[in-house]
Symmetry: C2
Subunit: 556 residues, 2 copies
Amino acid sequence: MSSNRLIYLPLGGAGEIGMNAYVYGYGPEGKERLILVDLGVTFPNMDTTPGVDLIFPDVTWLEENAERLEAIFITHAHEDHVGGIGHLWNRLKVPVYARTFTANHARRKMEEHGAPEDEVITAAAYPEIIKAGPFKVSFLPLAHSIPESSGLVIDTPDGRIVHTGDFKLDETPVVGDAFDPDLWAEVAKPGVKVLVCDSTNVFSRHPGRSETSVAPEIKALVTGAKGMVVATTFASNIARLQTLAEAGIASGRSVCLLGRAMKRMITAGVETGVLTNFPSTITAEEAQQVPRENLMLIVTGSQGERRAASAGLSRGKYLGLSMKEGDLFLFSSKTIPGNERGVINIMNAYSEMGVDVVDDSTGHYHVSGHANGPDLQRAHEIFAPQMIIPMHGEHRHLREHVRLAENGGRAAVLAVNGTMVNLSGNKPKVAEYIETGRTYLDGSVQISALDGIIRDRIRMALNGHVVATVIIDEEDEPLGGAWIELMGLPKAGRSKAPLTDVLEEDLSQILNRMDDKTLRDDDKLEEAIRREIRRSANDEIGRKPEVTVVVSRLVG
Amino acid sequence: MSSNRLIYLPLGGAGEIGMNAYVYGYGPEGKERLILVDLGVTFPNMDTTPGVDLIFPDVTWLEENAERLEAIFITHAHEDHVGGIGHLWNRLKVPVYARTFTANHARRKMEEHGAPEDEVITAAAYPEIIKAGPFKVSFLPLAHSIPESSGLVIDTPDGRIVHTGDFKLDETPVVGDAFDPDLWAEVAKPGVKVLVCDSTNVFSRHPGRSETSVAPEIKALVTGAKGMVVATTFASNIARLQTLAEAGIASGRSVCLLGRAMKRMITAGVETGVLTNFPSTITAEEAQQVPRENLMLIVTGSQGERRAASAGLSRGKYLGLSMKEGDLFLFSSKTIPGNERGVINIMNAYSEMGVDVVDDSTGHYHVSGHANGPDLQRAHEIFAPQMIIPMHGEHRHLREHVRLAENGGRAAVLAVNGTMVNLSGNKPKVAEYIETGRTYLDGSVQISALDGIIRDRIRMALNGHVVATVIIDEEDEPLGGAWIELMGLPKAGRSKAPLTDVLEEDLSQILNRMDDKTLRDDDKLEEAIRREIRRSANDEIGRKPEVTVVVSRLVG
């Protein structure tokens, strides 16, 4: 027995959907050589991350161990797998491997953030092997909703790991590689030690449907429409974009793509040769000349994003185009939990225009890109691994997937972000817990989720903000009274007098009564003022605001 | 022909789900005598109404015409129909009519907000009539999910109006009145001029299921559970509370209600005699002594509300009770759009405890209290009105309901909040538009949605807040530099220097260069400072914050 060990350590994606980042290591304890699989992002929301632009996994641990890191492998070009590479590469500085289409995206992201493009290396698919320290890694083509999606076959001195990435068992996926059971059986043949497996759809109890199955429904809908048709889906769901565009063409419509992300995806697909038969499209300018019954727009904004094309059209003209009574809008997508209100607002805006809105509530116009419960079971059976580690899912998904694995008689472990698992024996064992978290891109600055900045924003939003300024003169006496500024608070409350007046009055009174010791000590003075404002405001408006106290001391 | 007219004017609930408030009027134009049906609330969210406590319809129009208002009628005791009565009664000051159980709630709300309880008058059900000016109003018992839910039969000199309130066609509703087709036929017999009809479930294509249909499924689930069972539903869904409690008793468990709102509902039901066979329950203290396999908790918080019992249990101990591995948590409810993240967070917290969570994704453990599309069609047919006005729904629901009505060959009109409809002729005609909106309860103050307070809070949450203080001396010269305070902003950006230092430095420079005219004019000075801070911050941290400028002028 060597003293080497094989480890797995999720830094993102295990305990959440999005922000994927998984570390594997092999070597003596604490000196394992490492590889990173995926480096994705997740998206902020008003409830917990107001004003934040983007969310990354915290890669501090990886940065501290950067000299042990051999390479980064990106499974596919979705933002939750590749979106962090440009922002974070400079903290890691190792080669990035991906297949052609994904590499194209990764290079653009590197370029956008001042990281060297040529560190992204295009990899061929299985059986081609990339050596990275003790690991031999191979990109296993599989079906998802974007071209060249891949699992990874990771051969280690301790045995074979299959890391699925995102996948579904689709033998007719419209674009990208099909599910190939024979290929999987070939990979499984030498024996798989660990299957690290996508969990997002584990609660879906029926086998997943093929992307091909939505084409006839969408075609019938688009053909039957009397006016203009506008359809939205994820910009990165290239399979669906193809299905939608084909439905447009088949019904005698010109197809126009609206939205930067979507056009970029299609351009990249054509440039890299993975998208060979995407219908030709027209520009927004050309579309203005086409009779609406002969026009189909495919637009960004399936999640109700305020800046996307779907929201733009719901507010009126967008790039010279607008919707009107008798047009049809199709959400060929599912709404991600948390985005419902935004999507519903758009639906109602279209309703006000007299536009008919069709969504996926009937199940006809969307299928998921992920494997459902029974599909996961089938994947377990094909790879027949010694142990299974569920990844990419919230806690409840990982837990259910562990249960599924154990019901199939296999060892499994629930490992959320920061859980280092030792894979060396016959069963996965939790080795230790690493401190992990989230990094926020806030404007142009990376901040930690823990440093209180966002907490302060949330408090201002919930409680309003009072700024109190007092001037203390050379003799440590208050000069004049206090100035109060309100932000996000009612102008007046119980007494009907202006709230600023009430607070200034109350504050002046306590300043006049204040002892010298407090007046000389900034901290004590601020605390006394803050307490008085909160008390007085609560009395007046029934709310204790956030308070910033500015003490300006005149120096003699 | 008289010159009198019959009008309908929704002030809330038409163009949204929640906040119901509908005005009817009869008389000469502009002098119609008025009644108000329902006075509900809706709930705030972080996206659009951070910090707000409760949302009411704006009753300004009604207040201005209060001398024409005869009475208020409350259809049932749900918050979106009765929740505003205590807060707003003092602006309207007319008698409030409701059936026993609803009146009990209304009185409590009046009392809580200093309005006179005895203005709430208990009304008997149809065929008993309440006269209110030119109107003869009668409470029509129907099925919903709370006892004594009622439609209103409103007889006017211009014909009969049926206002449905919330309803479903449930002949076995567990609690409350059953759907009674014969009674409806009797009401319809003299001829119905206008049906004003609930629209929330118009997109549901199958006939609704009876409340009774979930009982066996819930019973099987609860009986099969090994550990403690905790179930949640809306506190006001008394039918479901009864179903859940009966399932607990049937499986040999003691039942304990947790959550103030829920206990209050049950108490009111028992006190008013509408709830005669609710199983006996135990207190939280008593529950601590019961073996968990013999215990069922029914708790508030089906929407993931942070302060409710379900969220409390997900964080650990709640009133001495806690969940653990092997327990079962049932969401016997649907998640209202916008609440998904909160609910999912609780599910994951339970998953971490090893608690099995069951929700309504299978359709087994919840049915809606509202009429589905085919049920609405049946209601149209029974009442056979001359015209239909869809109410209680978002724009898309109202629009679809108009379509349904027109497909059935009846005149209909889409009237959102503020649309006054003339019902006097053979078809509904829009007469005019009244300015309507929302009133926010913010702490103890009622503010308007339009006055910018909440907009400022949202801006602080998205952009952070900078406070700049400058002191201008007796000669209109800056005294010292500027003080900067940050709230919700990164401590440092591009230059790595503290952001406060960078902003103070930049500000001092422009203050030194500033001409006398600007220094003498507060508005100009503030604007110049604000602009410089936004420019400098954008340079440093890629973000333009909200800025409050405090200019303190020393007076000689």
